[in-house]
C-alpha cells in the first residue's frame, strides 16, 4: 500500500498544479480589469496605472502566477484589493465555521441514513420499508433552506432552545458556537441524509441478494447479524463514494444555509467575493475548494482498498 499512496499523492500534486493554472487563467482572462473595477468608470488613467502597479498587475502573467502559487505554499494568500485584509487569515477564520458545519452535517446524515437505509433495504417489500423509502424521496425534494426555516420556526421561535441565527466565535463561548451550529447541521444533514438513505437502501438490497449472505444465514446468523457481519462491509463502497461527494459539496454548498442562519462561513465569503469582484479572494477560495475536493477523493479512493481486499490486490 505504501508505494500506492506515493503514486496517488504524486497524481494529486499534478492535479493541483493543473487546477491552479486553470483557475489562474480563468480568473485573469475574465473581462474587466480589477483596477478599473475598484476605481470605477470615472478613474483617471494615471490613477489606474498607479493602482495596477500597486496590485502587481503590471507584471507579466507568469510572474503573477508564480507569485500567487509561491505565496500559497508559504501560507501567504495575498491581500484582498477590496477589503485590504489578508485573505489567508480571513479564510482560516471562516473555516472554523464551515468545517464543523460540513462535518456536523455529514455526521447527522450518517446517523439518519445508515439505520433508516438498512431498515428500508431489509424491508423493501414490506410497508415499513416502502414508507421509509417514500420519506427519503420526500426529504430529497426538500430544499435545505426550507428545512432550515422550518427548524428555525420550531426550535428557535416556538421552543426557544437555540438561537435562530448568528455565530458566536469558538474562542468566546465554545458551547454557544455548538448550539448555533446545531440547527444548520441538522438542516443540512437531514437533506443529505435523505439522499444517502437511498444509496444505503439500494446497497443493502444489492448485498442481500449475494450468495455469501445466504451462506451467513446458513451458519445460523439472523438477518441483522448477517447484515452487520457481512453486509455492511460489502455495501460500503457505493455509500462511501456518495459520502465523499456530499462532504465536498457541503464545504462550499452550504452557502444557502449559511445565509439562512446568518453564519459567517466560506460559502458566504465566496458569494460576497464574487459580488465585489474580489478576484484575489475568489481565486484563493476556488483553489482551496479544488484542493479539498481532490483530497477527499484521494481519501475515498484509498479507503476502497481498506474496504475491499480484491481492489487491494490490484
Amino acid at each position: 500500500m505504501g508505494p500506492l499512496i506515493l503514486s496517488r499523492a504524486a497524481g494529486l500534486v499534478v492535479a493541483l498544479v493543473a487546477a491552479s493554472v486553470l483557475i489562474f487563467v480563468v480568473v485573469n482572462v475574465l473581462p474587466g480589469d480589477p483596477a478599473s473595477v475598484i476605481l470605477g468608470t470615472a478613474a483617471t488613467p494615471g490613477a489606474l496605472a498607479q493602482l495596477r502597479q500597486q496590485l502587481g498587475l503590471d507584471q507579466p502573467a507568469w510572474v503573477r502566477y508564480l507569485e500567487w502559487v509561491g505565496g500559497m505554499l508559504h501560507g501567504d494568500f495575498g491581500i484582498s484589493p477590496i477589503s485590504r485584509i489578508p485573505v489567508g487569515p480571513e479564510i482560516l477564520q471562516k473555516l472554523t465555521v464551515s468545517a464543523p458545519l460540513a462535518l456536523g452535517g455529514t455526521l447527522v446524515a450518517l446517523v439518519v441514513a445508515i439505520p433508516l437505509g438498512a431498515l428500508a433495504g431489509i424491508r423493501h417489500r414490506r410497508p415499513s420499508g416502502v414508507v421509509i423509502s417514500a420519506l427519503s424521496l420526500g426529504g430529497m425534494a426538500v430544499p435545505a433552506f426550507w428545512a432550515g426555516l422550518l427548524l428555525i420556526s420550531l426550535f428557535a421561535v416556538r421552543l426557544q432552545l437555540v438561537p435562530s441565527g448568528g455565530f458566536v466565535p469558538w474562542s468566546q463561548d465554545p458551547l454557544g458556537s455548538l448550539t448555533s451550529l446545531a440547527l444548520p447541521c441538522l438542516a443540512l444533514g437531514l437533506v443529505q441524509g435523505a439522499v444517502l438513505t437511498r444509496y444505503v437502501r439500494s446497497a443493502v438490497i444489492d448485498v442481500q441478494r449475494q450468495d455469501f449472505m445466504r451462506t451467513a444465514r446458513a451458519q445460523g446468523l439472523s438477518r441483522w447479524q448477517a447484515l452487520v457481519r457481512h453486509g455492511f462491509r460489502n455495501a460500503a463502497i457505493p455509500v462511501v463514494t456518495v459520502l465523499g461527494i456530499q462532504l465536498t459539496s457541503l464545504i462550499v454548498g452550504a452557502v444557502v444555509i449559511e445565509n439562512v442562519f446568518d453564519l459567517p462561513g466560506l460559502g458566504l465569503l465566496l458569494f460576497q467575493a464574487v459580488g465585489n469582484r474580489d478576484l484575489v479572494t475568489v481565486q484563493d477560495l476556488v483553489m482551496l475548494l479544488t484542493a479539498a475536493v481532490l483530497v477527499v477523493n484521494l481519501v475515498v479512493d484509498l479507503s476502497y482498498r481498506l474496504l475491499d481486499p480484491r481492489i487491494r490486490a490490484r
Binding site: D211, F212, R214, Q219, L221, R233, D308, A313
Partner: protein, 260 residues
Amino acid sequence: MSSSPLFEVRGVTKRYRLPRTSVFARRREIVAVSRVDLDLNDSDSLGLVGDSGAGKSTLLRLLLGLEPPDEGSIRYQGEWRRREVQIVFQDPTRALDPRMTVAEIVLEPLRVLRLREPMSTRLSELLDAVGLPRAAADRYPHEFSGGQRQRIAIARALAPRPRVLLADEPVSALDVSVRAQILNLLHDLRDLYGLALVLVSHDLSVVRHLCDRIAVMHRGEVVEQQQTQSLFTAPTHPYTVRLLEAIPRLRWRPSPRPSE
C-alpha cells in the same frame, strides 16, 4: 440401526408467492416442494436429482432450517440442528464473503455458534482435511481457483463438526477437470467423519459415485426413491427413465438431429 431416523421428513410442502405482475393482479403461488417424504439416517448418503425447478434446492433449504415448511413436518433427532447440519453451496466464488480471509471464513461458524475450540489448531486441522496449504489462512478467496474455493467452503461447513452435510450442486460451477477431485474429497470426508450426506445434482453420474440411495424429484415431488444400483438398472418412473437416457454415453451412435 435405530428405529427413528436422524431426519424424518413427512408430507412437506413449500410454496412461494410470485411477485405481482400488475398492481391489480392477484399474486400467484408456485409450489416448490410438494408432499415430500424422506428419511435420512446417520452416515446415509442420499442423492437428490431432477432438472432445474424440481425443488431440490428448496428441499435443502428446508432441511437446513433456513425456511420453515408450509405443510408437513421435518423432525431432526440429533441434538443441535444448527450445528449438526451444514451446507456447501454451488458457486464458491459467490458464496464466500470477499472481505474475509480464509481463516475468518472457516472459523466463523465456531464464532457464530459460540463453540469453545482452540481456534488455530482447529483451523490447521480443517485446512489439512480439505487439502489446502496452511498458508492459505491469511489470504482472501479471490486469490484461489474455483476448486480451492470450494475446498474453503467445505472446510467452513466442517468446522462445527456436523453430522449431516448438505451439498447443493457442489461441483457444477467448477471446471470439469477439478470436479472429480472435489467429489473424491467429499467421499473421503464422508467416510472419515461418518457424515450423512445429501447431495443435490441435476447430473445423475455425479450422484452415482457418492450416494447409496437416490431420490428423483420432478415438479416438487419425489417421484422415485431407490437404492442407487437398482435405480440405474430398474427405474420405475417414466421421468427417471428419461433422466437416465439423458446421460451422455461414450459409444457414438448416429442419430437424426432434431430439426428446429
